[in-house]
């Protein structure tokens, strides 16, 4: 059995001024990146990738009606996935994985936004504007 390390923790301070400064710096830098994400313009196409390989590119901004994409479970670690895209964005609407994180992420539309389904090794990334933008906006 290991030696007790109780003494190691007992006599320490909780925080120092220097610590606060470092933590604040980390949070500020991350918050700035976050703001940058939030202000990104809407994208027009989405890349669906499985295991890092491009599976399909969807030009969702120019869709007139909702489009459903079914992912072959054999390519996605046995997970059945339904992706729904329409002109307002793209989302995973059904997944048979245990955690359902990808479904809960909801619809994405801003350039750079990502949906990830780890059990299926799936990622959906919104990228730049589509050709349809000239007409739509």
């Amino acid at each position: 059995m290991s030696k007790f390390t109780y003494e190691l923790a007992r006599e320490r301070k909780f925080i120092t001024k220097k610590n606060i400064f470092i933590f604040a710096a980390i949070v500020l830098v991350c918050a700035a990146i976050w703001l940058f994400y939030a202000l990104a313009p809407n994208g027009g196409t989405a890349e669906i990738k499985l295991d890092g390989e491009l599976y399909e590119t969807v030009d969702f901004a120019s869709l007139e009606a909702a489009k459903e994409i079914f992912i072959d479970p054999n390519l996605a670690g046995g997970v059945e996935l339904t992706i729904t895209a329409d002109s307002t964005g793209i989302s995973v609407t059904r997944a048979t994985c245990p955690d359902k994180t990808c479904v809960e992420t909801g619809k994405i539309v801003r350039a750079g936004e990502v949906i990830i389904c780890l059990p299926a090794k799936l990622s959906i990334t919104v990228s730049g504007a589509s050709d349809a933008d000239a007409i739509t906006y």
Binding site: A9, N19, V114, I116, S123
Partner: protein
């Protein structure tokens, strides 16, 4: 009861507590502004506590038990992430405790950031670059939960010291210092 027996029982209690924390965390509603699937890492409180009291081996054992629990209840991916993140963060917290004189908040934040980075790395291997979109969210979350775990350790140590004999936690080297 023998000291060793008490200590083993205490480590068992800590492991149960770690599982309860990770279960309760799953019941929380998704955090506003944060990516879905982001976890607070509350059970880090327990592994940090264990690393600071009963030692590195028991702390790692608790991380492994927690990983097995995640594997059984939330699937393979969650299990790998919990195991990888749990063991690495426990190691980092213990090294900071052992090798530096850094404050407890640094120990907590160091552990939480390691936990989140390990999970991001796992996500990166599964999906490639896409996972890094979540990095800033995970880092902010790491600082917040790290401060929380550090604070819990700071608050819970003095009362625990008073009852330490009952749990088989004796002061290292038999020293009796008082704050």
């Amino acid at each position: 009861m023998k000291l060793e027996t008490r200590r083993i029982a205490f480590i068992g209690l800590l492991a149960a507590l770690a599982i309860v924390f990770s279960f309760l965390e799953g019941l929380l509603p998704p955090l506003p502004f944060l990516p879905h699937g982001a976890k607070l890492g509350l059970s880090n409180i327990v592994t940090m506590f264990a690393a600071g009291t009963t030692g590195i081996f028991s702390a790692i054992a608790i991380a492994v038990i927690k990983g097995i629990f995640a594997f059984l209840t939330r699937g393979v991916t969650a299990g790998i992430m919990s195991l990888f993140g749990g063991i690495l963060s426990t190691l980092v917290m213990w090294i900071i405790l052992k090798k530096t004189k850094a404050s407890l908040s640094v120990v907590g934040v160091g552990g939480a950031l390691t936990h989140n980075l390990a999970q991001l790395t796992t996500a990166f291997f599964l999906t490639r670059a896409a996972a890094f979109y979540y990095a800033p969210f995970m880092l902010i979350l790491g600082v917040i939960t790290g401060l929380l775990t550090g604070a819990v350790l700071k608050i819970s140590l003095p009362p625990l010291m008073k009852v330490s004999k009952h749990f088989g936690i004796e002061k290292a080297g038999g020293k009796t210092k008082h704050e």
